[in-house]
Amino acid sequence: MAFRPMLRRFRGGTFFVLLTVFGCGLLFAQTKPVEGLHDERPSVHALTNATIVQAPGRVIENGTVIIRDGIIENVGKNVSIPADARQWDYSGKMIYAGLIDVYAETKAADKGKGSDKKSGSAAAPSYWNDRVHPEKSVLELYSASGKDLASSRKMGFTSAWLVPAKGIFRGSSAVVTLGDGDIHERILNRDVAQHLAFESGGGRYPGSLMGSIALIRQTLYDAQWYGGATSAYAASSAGLPPEANDALAALQSVINGRQLLVTAIGNDLDLLRVMKLRDEFGFKPMLKGSGHEYRQLETLKKSRAVVILPLNFPHDIDLTAPENAINVSLMHLQHWEQAPHNPARLAAAGIPFALTRSGLDKKQNFHKQIQKAIEHGLSADDALAALTTTPAKILGVGSALGTIEKGKRAHLLVTSKALFEKGSDKLDLWIDGKRYELKKPSTDISGKWDLRMNQHDGVTRTIPLEITGTDKPKVTLLKGDHKVKADKASISNKRLTLLFAGDSLDMSGKIRLSGSIRDGSMHGAGELADGTAFLWEATFKETMADKKSEKKEAAKAEDKMGDIPIVYHGAFGRSGKPQMQKHILVKNATIWTSGPDGILEDADMLISNGKIAKIRAGLYAPGGATVIDAKGKHVTPGLIDAHSHSGIERGVNESQQAVTSEVRIGDVINSYSIAFYRELAGGLTASNLLHGSANPIGGQNAVIKLRWGSLPEEMKIAGAPEGIKFALGENVKQANWGDKFTTRYPQTRMGVETIIRDRFQAAREYRDAWQKYNAGKKKKGVAAPRRDLELEALVEILEGKRLIHCHSYRQDEILMLTRVAQEFGFKIATFQHVLEGYKVAEELSKLDFGASTFSDWWAYKFEVYDAIPHNGALMHDVGVNVSFNSDSNELARRMNTEAAKAVRYGGVAPVDALKFVTINPAYQLGIDKQVGSLEVGKDGDFVVWSGDPLSTYTMCEQTWIEGAKYFDRQDDIAMRDEIRTERARLIQKYLATGDGSGGGKGMKGSSGRIYDSHHSCRDHGDHDHGGHGDDGHHDHDEHQDHGHGTLNEVRR
């Protein structure tokens, strides 16, 4: 018996493929004693007369495959059949390489709640977070029953790539055959890849997308540290060794680029997130796609990552009743149209992919969905490759599986017609030389027949029949125009059984008959109602026309073109980004500069190459300039919101820990959020996207421009100082979270101060440890300190490189953090909300700590009972830099009239009030050299208003960013018609192709919420009282018939 481990190179990494090749007999467990008799059966087979698809595009007509002991011994047209072979006549049939069940998600058999921690011994040194268990093998979870195997085989799968389905670092995957044998003989490859997903929620850390990304980052740094510390210890053996950690040990092959890291993504923005992590850590990425990959072809192509594509095309969209249809977003309808083209688009772009049935509601629809992809432009060869050669290659089993070639394992699929053709049956499966019968060849008697009954009494009747369907036929009996449906009709073992009512066919009672089916004829015996027997025979006349499918085919043919441009942002999205105009001349405007020039009447402004070139009266337009006649209109700088939660995907808060300085809003920007467009329509051009206020030390911020049409990274303002959210008071001490939340430290304002101080202390020590390490001359044998992303962010604060934006209400807590800042020697960029800032304004003024406040919110919590709308004015009057913020997707679209409230309450001069939403927030965010005022040399970010920007009667007419027009009310009004037309077209198309029932049932994906934008931060008040949804306080990509929201998720 030969046992030969094969060594094989795969894209730079080495994979050990255990290929078991046996000299005699079938595969069997080699170490287990034989019970009873040895029972080895003949194991040489000749599969003859078949059309053999050796590999995609390589077809042998009328060929033969020889299998010996589970291995393909020969394949070809003129292959001599060995004498010891058993012969299988497959004439008229097709033989394919066995399909690979790609990305077969595997969960532990017992569906334990909560922790998906490995089942290993409690003493196994695992990672501290129970979602990180890379050391776990999927085989520990796998326990497929015979039934499961049979149902997988039924779909043509001969092997499966088992992947773990839960956790963040989920563990390693394996490839197994789907034969009935013992697991020992079924494993084709182990440790195929490491598996990752952005999992969060469930009341444990991480509770948000950004938290899961932060944890991934920290884990990979931990793995780097572990590798270094372990080898440093091995070299020196000085002191104590680093901790033992199976998880970090298991990740060494990932960070060294030896093992693939397969990440399951939820949308195309996740794809960009994976690539960003790849750039940071240099792992070898593969993606389990979401179905939106067609939106990022360029990035995908550059990444050279293989994609596992699901076929989860939207269906069952409720479009029948108009009042239901309006709740389906245009974005979702557009995705419905594009999604089936996803595989074809990837194929056209040359991006390698495999197809998976993961993600389907009904796994048995897999082949139907492949057919749909083929109808939408995917070639049958590409489809086949995605189920055979591509997965075999990426899984490191290419020398064993994927094609029908000499020396490979005999994994074969026999079908009645071409695999992806309609009505093709999967007949036999061969796995390692063992045959599994999937389906007896079906007996198709559909068509028009004449049934002749010959009764004993000599009476002969002829009844025309119409039969549809195979195996479970529907039989209709005709008498002239009159049609009688048979009560029962079935086919079994090539015999037809039929029961029908004789009454309307000039007979009485029920008539029963049965008989055998041969080519073109049937015959047998039956019994009349009175018990007398008769003989019958039926002859085939003609096939039936299928009108319905013809109509469908026509619709499909139209769709095959697939040349409809992708509109990435849905409604109000454009097919491209707005272009920067070389020169823009704004003429005759009232210009509120928010700079030293104050308000200029009847003035002109020239923007050249995105920057403000000149501001004064009587400017001439350079050649080719875009001229805006702004007579009677007002122009201001683009408005800036120093506190926004717009477009933050899957969690504004990482609320599962009190200190989460490791999480980053910049990781989770949803550039497709309609909030950005709506805010542009209110003159907003820049925002400080902040983490929520669920914890004393929250996450890192992102300062962006509202570049609607761009991707997340393009929205960030280059060079804007990094920042972080802190929070104090009721939210962080969980005062209003409910009775269950009473154990997390801190629960009091005392504890809030203490924990912040504690962390800064730790940060100092962390900084010192690194300084000591970096100063040391001898690096060999000395382990670097472990990188701690939480403390690293705090060190940046201590070093003045990271700005604090601190949610606060009461004067005592404001003073408290002020003192902590003084003690540790850092500045606070802003106190956010700071509703009692007016009580300690002298401190803020003295230290130049900014105040970013609500104009007039109060009374929703006890700590805001002393909030007054004069807060901004009073702080301003004593020299504090004051801004008004929104904290709301709704309010963020009318910041200009918020500024007017500083005039109403406290009498701030209008020219200064506008600065509350322009230069002041720019100063607070450290971007005032670039934006916030209209001054020569600054960015050409400006707004054209219909009148006085502080008036409630004024509309925003145009919003420009760096010389490119991002909003124009006239264009917007024109787009509305386009949107209506586009919706109508898509709805008509949907109804014509009939994807799903379309009738209320299921409502699958009707909202199209793939980029889950959690609602903005204002939900106090209306969370438990039906009927009074406070519309202004939710992010409205969704229904809101009744007020909801939880205090746990988002805090103000």
Binding site: S329, N736, Y838, K839, W857, F862
Partner: protein, 438 residues
């Protein structure tokens, strides 16, 4: 320690936590008052430049450019100022909530799904700090609406000044409030129920509503016909709706809810007032034809659907107006919004920015809510015989930058100070002490 002590004090004071505001309710008008030389915006009629308005015993007795002032008239020079009727907010939970996060201060939602018997006036806290803050922006009258469940309770129309809930009630009861059950299926992130469960729940809610109304009718019928049925407090509270003496306010935000409510009230022959969002525009034709008025819950909201025009809520008043629907602009009624009804006039201003004529915008917070609430014989415009419930402003009250300088409610001159102005003055004093302010 300080904070804990404070908490203990708060806890100890819980029952009496609703500390009285410092503003003293005004005494009844005991002498004629004339506002002289201002611009009188009557709302129902002309704008009178350089006009005078005279009121006696709380009622307007004369308006014009040459008004004879009786002896003993207090004449107030309002030259350069503008006089308007006080603003009316037809939907709010003010008075029923102080600090929503503090449970002890929440009185807006009684237990159960059908509780028409609870009356908002009973819990209307005349000493709420939210009231002076609101009337400082010109709001003189509100409808205080209970929340929660399917039938949340019975509302009353209240004046924004007075010693007790009895003396501040302008009209009570003013109506019964029904929150139409959710009709659609939510796929929102917070929704834990499946589509099927939600639809089942919807059908159950609708069946319960039908059942409740049928029982109320049976009860009403029995009592009316002298049958000896035991008194039922709950069903008794439905009688004013059934006999048409008060309307049924149906709160329905989404078009499917509105459609269902329209069908139901047509079938049940009930007098309906719709409290809704911009979705009301989707059925504006039927609303106009059946003369069903709409209380629009604000314009400062987001479009309901991702693909909708960004200004959908801003243009809703214009669209209702053009369709011939009677409407007013009010608050969402949520407890959060209770503290912020002072911004309702500015929400009307936004409607004007987006196409509603300014005169209509003004009516949408004065005369129209008065008509919808059935108090227009008394308030809502400046006319002889109506209450002297009015404001004197530096300019258009829908403009944020203008100030409300005086308010009279039934001729009583109201203190426009509030917790906010008091704290403002207190801390101005601090900075004067620190020589940071003059």
């Amino acid at each position: 320690m300080r904070i804990q002590i404070l908490l203990y004090i708060v806890l100890a004071l819980m029952p009496a936590f609703l500390l009285a505001s410092d503003q003293v309710p005004a005494p009844p008008q005991d002498h004629p008052i004339a506002l002289v030389g201002g611009t009188v915006h009557t709302v129902s009629g002309d704008v009178i430049e350089n006009g005078t308005i005279l009121f006696v015993d709380g009622k307007i007795t004369a308006i014009g450019t040459s008004v004879n002032l009786p002896a003993g008239t207090e004449s107030i020079d309002v030259a350069g100022k503008h006089i308007y009727p006080s603003l009316i907010v037809a939907n709010t939970s003010i008075g029923l909530v102080e600090v929503n996060a503090v449970r002890a201060t929440r009185d807006y939602s009684e237990v159960g799904d059908f509780k028409p018997e609870v009356r908002s006036a009973i819990a209307y806290n005349t000493d709420s700090e939210l009231i002076p803050v609101s009337r400082a922006n010109g709001i003189g009258i509100i409808q205080s609406v209970p929340l929660g469940g399917v039938i949340s309770g019975t509302s009353s129309v209240m004046m924004m000044d007075g010693w007790t809930y009895e003396t501040t009630t302008l009209k009570g009861p003013s109506g019964v409030h029904l929150n139409w059950p959710r009709m659609g299926v939510s796929t929102a992130w917070w929704m834990t129920k499946s589509a099927e469960e939600q639809l089942k729940e919807r059908d159950k809610n609708l069946a319960e509503l039908d059942q409740f109304l049928a029982e109320a009718r049976a009860y009403h019928h029995a009592r009316k016909n002298g049958k000896d049925h035991r008194h039922n407090t709950r069903l008794e509270a439905m009688v004013p709706v059934l006999d048409g003496s008060v309307p049924l306010y149906i709160h329905a935000n989404e078009v499917r809810q509105i459609q269902a409510a329209l069908d139901w009230t047509a079938q049940e022959n009930l007098k309906m007032i719709l409290v809704s969002t911009a979705d009301a525009c989707r059925v504006a034709g039927e609303l106009a034809q059946r003369k069903i008025p709409v209380i629009l819950t604000g314009t400062h909201t987001l479009p309901r659907r991702r693909w909708e025009d960004y200004d959908t809520p801003f243009t809703a008043p214009k669209r209702l107006s053009e369709a011939g629907v009677t409407f007013c602009i009010a608050s969402s009624g949520s407890p959060f919004a209770a503290a912020h009804i002072r911004n309702i006039p500015f929400q009307a201003g936004t409607a004007a920015a987006y196409g509603l004529p300014k005169s209509e915008a003004l009516k949408s917070v004065t005369l129209y809510p008065a008509q919808i609430l059935g108090i227009d014989k008394q308030v809502g415009s400046l006319e002889i015989g109506k209450d002297a419930t009015l404001i004197v402003c530096s300019g258009d009250p829908l403009e944020i930058m203008n100030q409300v300088e005086m308010q009279f409610i039934q001729g009583r001159k109201i203190d426009l100070n509030s917790r906010h102005t008091q704290l403002y003055e207190k801390y101005q004093a601090k900075y004067k002490q620190l020589k940071m302010l003059k």
